[in-house]
């Protein structure tokens, strides 16, 4: 072997170290060296890598962030050091469907980075510089908690308990952590926050149409579709663990159409990409409805049974014909259709005014509980409701009115306004293409619309979702595997809600103060939404909604918020109207506390920061709506440094409040609103149910035991492998069948939980009339900002909101910092080159960042991956600097059947993407290398 090596060197002249390798290397040499290889004895170096891939402990891990993945992982530890994580690949498969395994993503394999990374908060910190500056002093837990406890007691005593505000979102991903601060707030009388609506993720149009907070199929059901429209959804980037179902469906013969202004990572997988002009989706959808109705491609029986389209509307006042119009002492919640067989108006069964024999308890995520109606209750039987025609009805006062089915009104409008030709002019998609799309969608069975953030963050997103629902209802796609409108935005579904609620608000949610975070921010940050430019006076609707208690505003009685406790969320960084929040809301807050694993923007702008245990240092549950298996995390190591679990932190804070209350001789107070004499010296017992829930794992088990969806599942079972839910929200769980919503109404034919007991498309409410939204209609994007470019803020593949924005590995796979993306033509017109610094501004604020000129972006729009941390490589501002808080008046309705305020069930969002900006090259001082 040595000889051959000498020959090799001689033959190659390698000692010259000429790196421009020439023809001196030949196959002969290769043959020689291969001989050498055969004789080669492996040396010890190979054990180096074998040792690298070894561990002495394997534990369960989940990523407890605002992510919809809920990806079961194993965490590998060696000598007390967590090395890495890997998808555990043990979600049970379903027959005939590709399995969920492996579930994970680029971020998920770097979860350990936040454990050992430089962002980690190690000790309690007290601010000594300005808010946001980063100048801290280390404090003891005792000192920090005492400061917070004293301020809490003083605020309750001198101001009001609702001046204390606790913000923590997304219970589904870490319900015990979530419950910790909520339970604390619950017992001291503080208010907590909504989040799903505030993030703009709430599918308000679905709540309007279906009477549920929202519900979607688990993603394995995508594979069952024969035709999929990706409508403003980019799963390759925003639903990484689920996107394989699209490519697998495609290989299985499913046609996929991607509707998106830009050519993106999901469009490239589609059979067809349709690049409509931003915000014109509703025009396309209504034109599809035109084709489906005109060509009679709709499911007549489905429309008559499952929707309010046959319901009669009075021609004189445009209101539904109600029983109270016709009969003395009639119900205002019972509605009529015209039975073509008998030629009579008949009351449709299952309306709001129709009660089941056994009334079920209220359900937080439903407009009303219709579960106790018998199966088949809304079956049409011999009834044949008319969809068209004008009929005469005699009212109770003897007069008569003409009435007309909703369908007739809708059809007349659609035929007039929504021709494919009209839509072509608005959307930029040729009429023939629209017609073909509508036919393909209506004739493929089952057909699914998958919508996402791209269609849910507009000012008029609610009516856009109603348009999607109209398409889905016309084709009778709901409640069927592989069909329906399925929206994916937000991590909103703690399927085990009853268990969670019992842990978070033990005296029932009715005795918990909830603010509506969008309203809270809009009012206290004194946001100027400039909607008067679009002739909409937001404040008029808002004042009325609050005054009539349709929506809450806290603190009550015109007080300012004083104490703000934020944990498991990055309120400031994510806040729309960020400029207003920093300028107007932040100074009102006398104490801002942030509890966190890392120093995010909210922590940086806080007064006291407390170190929280990382996901691999605590026990908690983790679920999602994207699959139906419950997943858990457990400590691989003890909480590092001085960190503690959230469940333990709020217990410790409870003890400190007890001490402070005694010291300040303010041990009890009467909470008049709830007629509740609160004992501040008994908080720890209340927090822990007299010690029974003191342990994190006991709290997990309490949730599982208390929720019917999980009863019978133990933590030991979850340690073994993920366990499927036993029940769900609007459909039963069926063995081997993916969950899809609304089977309770479509298959079992119980009333939909809406005012009309059907998928509701007509809203005879003043605000809806005012806004021209009583029926599905196309509403364009708003132009309240007088600037030329639309500002789009999609979610990035390298972050989950702000989490992982600051991860070094992610930044190296991008360009080292945030950027705004613009079309080549728009850049050229402004003299902007790729990677330049640019200024993006409107009347709400300004962001200065790098630009990426991207070929697939549509001209007329710029996109910035949403919410980089404020401290990242930005010269000024961030993506939320140019986004105001814009409240749609229809979201403020809280006095109409199923449209009522309940936390995260119904309330205003704030329309992230309906802003306009201008961009120019930044010519100020740009950063030097550090």
């Amino acid at each position: 072997m040595k000889a051959s090596r000498r020959e090799f060197l001689k033959a190659t002249g390698a000692s010259s170290l000429s790196l421009m390798l020439g023809g001196t290397y030949s196959l002969r040499v290769l043959a020689q060296s291969q001989d050498a290889m055969v004789q080669h004895e492996y040396s010890g170096w190979e054990n180096f890598h074998r040792n690298q891939w070894s561990w002495d402990k394997k534990t369960r891990g989940a990523h407890l962030i605002n992510c919809t993945g809920a990806c079961p992982h194993n965490v590998y530890t060696k000598d007390g050091v967590v090395l890495r994580e890997e998808a555990s690949k043990d979600i049970a498969p379903m027959p005939g469907l590709p399995e969920y395994n492996p579930r994970g993503c680029n971020k998920g394999v770097c979860g350990v980075d936040y454990q050992y990374g430089p962002h980690r908060i190690k000790y309690p910190l007290i601010r000594v510089g300005e808010r946001g500056e980063g100048k801290w002093r280390r404090a003891s837990w005792d000192e920090a908690l005492e400061m917070i406890a004293d301020k809490i007691v003083d605020t309750i005593k001198n101001e009001a308990p609702d001046c204390i505000s606790v913000f923590s979102p997304v219970p589904a991903v870490a319900p015990v952590s979530f419950a910790a601060g909520h339970r604390f707030a619950h017992y001291i009388g503080a208010h907590t926050h909504t989040f799903f609506d505030w993030y703009g993720d709430h599918p308000t149009g679905q709540t309007q149409t279906c009477g549920v907070q929202g519900d979607s199929c688990e993603t394995a059901d995508w594979f069952n579709a024969k035709f999929i429209i990706l409508w403003g959804a980019n799963p390759s980037i925003t639903r990484i663990p689920d996107a394989h179902y699209l490519s697998e469906a495609s290989l299985n013969g499913t046609k996929i159409v991607s509707i998106s202004p830009d050519y993106n990572a999901s469009s490239i997988k589609a059979d067809q990409w349709l690049h409509l002009k931003p915000g014109t989706d509703g025009a396309l959808g209504m034109a599809m409805a035109y084709v489906i109705i005109k060509e009679k491609l709709f499911d007549v029986h489905g429309v008559k049974e499952q929707t309010d389209l046959p319901y009669l509307v009075r021609k004189d006042n445009q209101r539904f014909l109600r029983e109270s119009d016709v009969v003395a002492n009639g119900s205002t919640g019972k509605f009529y259709a015209w039975d073509a067989k008998t030629g009579k108006a008949v009351i449709m069964k299952g309306c709001w005014g129709d009660e089941p024999a056994q009334k079920g308890p209220p359900v937080a995520f439903m407009g009303r509980n219709t579960n106790t109606f018998p199966k088949g209750y809304i079956d049409l039987g011999d009834l044949d409701p008319a969809l068209e025609g004008t009929y005469k009805i005699q009212l109770k006062d003897g007069s008569s009115v003409e009435v007309q089915p909703v369908f007739d009104i809708l059809k007349t409008r659609i035929m007039k306004q929504n021709t494919p030709e009209a839509a072509a002019a608005v959307t930029g998609i040729p009429a023939k293409v629209i017609v073909q799309l509508a036919k393909d969608y209506a004739t493929a069975k089952p057909a699914m619309i998958i919508s996402g953030g791209g269609t849910n963050h507009w000012y008029y997103s609610d009516v856009l979702l109603r348009v999607f629902h109209l398409l889905s209802a016309l084709t009778a796609s709901e409640g069927k595997n592989g069909g329906g409108l399925q929206h994916y935005i937000g991590q909103w579904k703690p399927t085990f809600l009853p268990g969670l609620a019992a842990l978070a608000w033990p005296e029932t949610p009715a005795k918990q103060r909830f603010c509506q975070t969008t309203i809270w921010t809009y009012v206290h940050a004194e946001v100027n939404d400039e909607m008067l430019n679009s002739n909409i006076d937001t404040n008029k609707y808002l004042r009325k909604s609050i005054a009539t208690k349709q929506m809450p505003l806290l603190p009550a009685n015109g007080r300012d918020p004083k104490v703000f406790i934020v944990y498991r969320g990055n309120y400031l960084n994510q806040a729309k109207g960020q400029k207003y929040v920093l300028r107007n809301l932040w100074p009102k807050l006398e104490l801002i506390v942030d509890i966190n694993i890392r120093m995010d923007s909210t922590a940086l702008y806080s007064d006291i920061v407390l170190p929280s245990a990382h996901w691999y240092e605590k026990t908690d549950l983790n679920v999602t709506m994207e699959h139906t298996s419950i997943n858990m995390t457990e400590p691989a190591i003890k909480p590092m440094w001085e960190s503690r679990t959230d469940w333990q932190i709020f217990q410790a804070l409870a003890k400190k409040v007890e001490e402070s209350a005694r010291r300040k001789k303010f041990e009890r107070y009467n909470d008049e609103q709830f007629k509740w004499v609160r004992d501040l010296t008994n908080l720890w017992n209340q927090m822990t149910m007299d010690g029974k829930l003191a342990d994190d794992e006991a709290a997990c088990q309490f949730i599982l035991d208390t929720a019917p969806q999980t009863k019978g599942i133990t933590m030991a079972m979850l340690r073994d492998k993920p366990q499927r839910f036993k029940g769900n929200w609007t459909s039963p769980m069926q063995e081997g069948v993916p969950y899809t919503p609304f089977k309770n109404y479509v298959v079992d034919k119980k009333p939909w939980p809406t005012l009309t007991g059907r998928q509701q498309f007509y809203f005879d409410h003043d605000t809806f009339f005012d806004m021209g939204l009583e029926l599905p209609v196309y509403k364009g994007p708003i132009n309240a900002d007088k600037f030329p470019l639309r500002f789009n803020t999609p979610h990035s593949r390298y972050a989950i909101h702000s989490t992982f924005k600051d991860n070094v590995q992610m930044l190296r796979l991008q360009r080292g910092g945030p950027s705004v993306e613009m079309a080549p033509a728009d850049a050229k017109a402004r003299g902007i080159n790729d990677n330049d610094w640019v200024e993006v501004w409107n009347d709400h604020g300004k962001v200065i960042c790098r630009v990426k000129v991207r070929k697939g972006e549509q001209s007329g729009r710029v996109s910035m991956w949403h919410t980089p941390e404020l401290y990242m490589d930005l010269i000024e501002g961030s993506s939320q600097s140019v986004c105001p808080v814009r409240i749609s008046p229809t979201h403020l309705v809280g006095n109409y059947g199923h449209l009522v305020f309940r936390p995260n069930y119904y309330g205003p969002g704030g329309t992230q993407r309906d802003s306009r900006v201008e961009v120019k090259r930044y010519i100020g001082a740009t950063p030097m290398p550090l």
């Binding site: 051959s4 090799f8 190659t12 790196l19 421009m20 390798l21 020439g22 023809g23 196959l27 002969r28 290769l30 060296s33 010890g44 170096w45 190979e46 890598h49 690298q52 891939w53 890495r84 498969p93 590709p98 492996p102 394999v109 350990v112 990374g117 430089p118 946001g132 500056e133 980063g134 100048k135 980037i237 990484i240 996107a243 394989h244 490519s247 290989l251 299985n252 013969g253 991607s258 050519y263 059979d271 067809q272 690049h275 998609i429 040729p430 023939k432 593949r797 590995q809 930044l811 190296r812 796979l813 991008q814 910092g817 991207r854 070929k855 697939g856 549509q858 001209s859 490589d873 950063p927």
Partner: protein, 332 residues
């Protein structure tokens, strides 16, 4: 020749460019010790300059029985200096120091992400994951003056002996895929090891086993039951990248389909937007037949007929994507 060759097929119709493979690899092998800039596995947007920049123009490989000259990529210009940050100054010290790369990034492993070629609305791009091809005729092995590079008998994995390597970098120049990296701290060249410690235990490579697009199949090339043999030799839908370099790569790709282009009136033409010529450039002329087979089999599925090929690519059971000839149980 080696007795057996472990090989990989990557289905580009399932790759979503998420970089989970990239980071599964990196967090296991290359996140420290002078390896920060190197990605044994990465995903690049095609068409594009790739990583390292312009690797396709950097030479290497074989011309008949001769090694072709190759160029060494430069750290800053071609790989990109990995961004580093001063978190402490930003988050825990006074002053408003933003979190900014200490050296501004001018290039990186994914600089041209999602760019591609062509003009809106007919532009096109797709993702190409790349790793060491563990070639049957490795140019790197031939080029190494130290005989530090070997190809294992039992599985054909090509390794650089870290004790023999002196960092001469002939291998880097010789590799036409530029998938060998010089570790400036260690003074040695390093590359993908096909996760041999895992493979030895019957566990697939980190990149393949963690691929959430479920795009990667791993099996021995001679295993007639394995997906690799069936896709490469029977269905002939999986092709090596740049076969003209003559190294006989053992990573194969199922070529990408693409949405139709639009005509001047905005109507879809029915023609795929990725030009065949470009795919021929990457995968050789056999790509046309491969695409035709894929389209034919998808059409079968659309009509409700059976297709063994599509079922294999769909991969209902994750475990079916891997046959490593050893018990598949994960070590505990």
């Amino acid at each position: 020749m080696t007795q057996r060759q472990l090989a990989m097929v990557i289905d580009l119709n399932k790759c979503i460019g998420c970089q989970t493979c990239t980071l599964a690899c990196k967090s296991q092998w290359t996140d420290r010790g002078g390896r920060e800039f190197m990605y044994w596995n990465h995903v690049e947007t095609r068409p594009g300059k790739g990583y390292p920049r312009d690797w396709q123009q950097a030479g290497g490989g074989w011309e008949g029985d001769k090694l072709k000259p190759g160029r060494l990529p430069r750290l800053a210009e071609d790989y990109g200096i990995p961004a580093d940050f001063s978190f402490d100054a930003t988050l825990f010290k006074e002053g408003e120091q933003p979190l900014r790369p200490t050296e501004p990034m001018q290039w990186g492993p994914n600089w041209d992400e999602d760019q591609g070629a062509g003009e809106f609305p007919n532009g096109y791009f797709f993702y190409l994951p790349r790793l060491c091809n563990h070639c049957t005729k490795p140019a790197c092995l031939a080029a190494c003056p130290r005989q530090a590079i070997s190809k294992r008998e039992e599985d054909g994995i090509v390794l650089i002996d870290q004790e023999r390597c002196r960092g001469y970098r002939y291998c880097v120049a010789a590799c036409p895929y530029k998938k060998i990296y010089f570790n400036p701290l260690a003074g040695r060249s390093e590359k993908c090891i096909f996760c041999y410690p895992r493979v030895e235990q019957g566990i697939p490579q980190a990149c393949a086993y963690q691929c959430v697009g479920r795009a990667r199949h791993v099996a021995y090339l001679d295993d007639r039951e394995g997906a690799v043999h069936r896709l490469v030799n029977e269905w002939k839908v999986a092709l090596p990248l740049h076969p003209e370099h003559g190294t006989q790569p053992n990573v194969y790709y199922v070529p990408p389909l693409s949405p139709a282009t639009f005509d001047a009136n905005g109507k879809p033409t029915g023609q795929p937007r990725i030009p065949d010529d470009y795919l021929v450039e990457l995968f050789g002329p056999a790509v046309k037949q491969a695409l035709a087979v894929l389209q034919r089999e998808i059409a079968r599925k659309e009509k409700g007929e059976a297709s063994a090929l599509m079922d294999m690519l769909i991969a209902y059971k994750h475990g079916d994507m891997f046959r490593l000839g050893r018990p598949p149980e994960q070590r505990s």
